[in-house]
Symmetry: C2
Subunit: 222 residues, 2 copies
DNA sequence: TTGCTTGTGTGACAAACTCACCGACAGCCG
DNA sequence: CGGCTGTCGGTGAGTTTGTCACACAAGCAA
């Protein structure tokens, strides 16, 4: 008997959930679609739901008072935006914000249902805490990177990440600067240096990777 | 009827816990005492318990491969070390480590009991998620600071924090550098500058605050 | 005393950030 | 087509922060 909720199959850990909890999920979860650029949560608009991302990606970023930004992590399809749940249950406001990087499809589980599910289902608890664990270690990595790693290495790494196997990147230097939490000029200068070494080719709004191997070597430098 | 477990009174949120959960806490929780300097969790020794700190403080720090360190946050009496619980349930290893900064007394709640309590008690859930919320916002603040704030401002702030109302600080420059995730020389130079301005008086292993007001003014600069 | 460990001071240089400004490019509109 | 406008990228100059190397001072023990 197949329900309309086969979306659950794409969330490792939720597919094996017990019968009663499963029904509860089906009854309370609602599917939503959001356009690229939509602000999912942020200062002033606290999260009211646990969000499970079915398709698309969400970028979570931190804003500084001076107007600078840094990308903390991304939520991909099959993952959940759990950090909001802490605030979801603790009623505390967030200083970070989540933005739909593409059009997205997501499942929303309201606060009350989340609490009930946590209570009822061991599998759901495991799912939630595993997601927590991943996010928190992500945050630790971000801290380690900005505190201890050189910009050129971080930039090389980020280029590879954002390229995702492709060789063509459609990004402005400013966008990359936000990814790394640095200034646009720093990115421009580093990219120019990479271009001098013939690792990349630059043109307005795009970066072409010419020598992925060299870039990877730099990225893996400790 | 007073049980041996009045420690619970010092944990806001656990004092009002329901009868059955309360009993479960009493039965499974064990009190431990640890000496200053003890490593509570860290790479290689994953946390096996939720820890509630009755007295003393725990410093949680991140180590870099290059051997540098940064203090992420502190757990004080009446707080819990929840971030370990994520890993506790998700079985994932930690890249940070927790160190007893003083002799400490703590309550340990084993993994299985933690899971049961989460399931059974709404109050316990609220307690845990509130603790999560606080830690995560702490981490966000750390990220904002190291990414965007000037060292002199951060140093001023840290001096006030560590002084805690006193005017005498027994710390080496190296220890402060670890707090801020920077190099010892940077701290030395900044402190020397503060001394030239007659905000502090330096001597081997101690710092005396002379003009707390000026230091506070700098710390509050945006 | 002498020697050892640990903590601090400092100069020189490299990396990163800030500020100011300029020119190049794309899109749009007359 | 030409000119306007907003965005994007390049660059020099000055400051802050991080790195390296080393010198010196304070405390402690033999």
């Amino acid at each position: 008997m197949l329900t309309h909720s086969d979306w659950r199959l794409s969330f490792p850990g939720l597919d094996t959930i017990a019968e009663d909890a499963s029904r509860m999920l089906d009854e309370t979860a609602q599917v939503v679609t959001l356009r690229q650029g939509a602000v999912i949560f942020g200062p002033g608009s606290p999260a009211e739901n646990l969000m499970l991302l079915v398709s698309g990606t969400v970028r979570v970023q931190q804003l500084s008072e001076a107007g600078r930004e840094i990308t903390l992590y991304r939520v991909h399809a099959g993952e959940s935006c759990v950090l909001t749940t802490a605030c979801l249950l603790a009623f505390e406001d967030y200083s970070a914000e989540g933005i739909a990087e593409t059009d997205i499809q997501a499942i929303l589980i309201p606060r009350a249902a989340f609490d009930r599910l946590i209570s009822v289902s061991q599998e759901f608890r495991a799912f939630v805490f595993a997601a927590y664990s991943k996010r928190i270690t992500d945050l630790f990595m971000v801290i380690e990177e900005i505190a201890f790693r050189r910009m050129d290495i971080r930039l090389a790494q980020k280029l590879l990440d954002l390229a995702g196997g492709q060789t063509l990147l459609h990004l402005t230097h400013q966008q990359i600067a936000i990814e790394l939490g640095t200034a646009r000029e720093v990115v421009s200068r580093q990219l120019k240096e990479f271009e001098r070494r013939e690792w990349v080719e630059l043109s307005r709004g795009t970066i072409r990777l010419l020598d992925t191997e060299r870039v990877r070597q730099l990225a893996q430098t400790r």
